[in-house]
Subunit: 200 residues, 2 copies
Amino acid sequence: MTEFIAPLQNLMDHFRRLPGIGGKTAIRLAFSVMELPEQEAEDFAAAILAAKREIHLCRECCNVSTEDVCPICADEGRDHSTVCVVEDAKAVLSFERVHDYRGVYHVLGGTLSPMNGIGPDHLHIRELLHRLGDDTVKEIIVATNPTVEGEATAMYLARILRPFGVTVSRLAYGIPVGGDLEYADEITLHRALEGRRPIG
Amino acid sequence: MTEFIAPLQNLMDHFRRLPGIGGKTAIRLAFSVMELPEQEAEDFAAAILAAKREIHLCRECCNVSTEDVCPICADEGRDHSTVCVVEDAKAVLSFERVHDYRGVYHVLGGTLSPMNGIGPDHLHIRELLHRLGDDTVKEIIVATNPTVEGEATAMYLARILRPFGVTVSRLAYGIPVGGDLEYADEITLHRALEGRRPIG
């Protein structure tokens, strides 16, 4: 045996294909799955299938949901006039953890990336524009990540949203709370200066 | 949605239970599985079940195997008089990668650990002793890890193997090749001195 036995190699390859999982981690994970109790391995396999089969995109906001319309969009208590546009479902979770935002979301499903062949049609932009049809939405907060692609996507959205007459805002940039000026990169410092606000 | 939707949470929990997978990694992995093509998710689930169902322990060496006797034990070209005793199947792979060792193996399935309630009966020691029944084995190389438990297991094995009249050896300790003396811990240096050999 100069290689892994086939079922182990196969499982390892599957783990390896997941993001951030290297060769050694894939080996460790495959071995640990092999050592799981039978019932737990079955539950794990079923959980993978369920995640694929039971999760759809919300008809309104394109967030992941087991329902046709996700609980956030279905919640009458939330402010449906404010839509926070994020790249993915993980960002929704980050905002929800803050317990501060009472508006709704729109999940783009990525960012524009011409280099990788991802244009506006690959994102849920059409669905976003569709939501502007009935005058409910007053403000759109573009909360894409502060990366090159996230910025480009924000710029693109600002441009195509202009004709709709809604307020389009962008998250504030600056020094993260608890961060140290010494370690802040130049662009962040530049943005922090630019966005300075009067105090007192 | 202040929490994950159920199928996602469930999948995340399964990932979380694997060794070395923390909360954030579990989230990332669960999301990436959700985004897999349907076919690939099905293959992944099947791979988990196959790893449980198709892999058994070799009747001879207790290594993982899809056959009753693993390819190494079944290989007539290998030296069946030398048995390298390792903690787990991963260690077998490490040795096999060296392409230098032509003997066979015996997988203990762990180390003695009274603290965790793991005694000799929990390891494949009985199976090892059984292999000494027909005078084939002449040398046993104890290759448990140089940890407290690995050492204790090596000592225990040396003691119970003595009556069988086989040579029992232990892997050499020392400075790892490419390592720097500056960073070697005291015990390793002590062992390296103790195990010094004449050169030239």
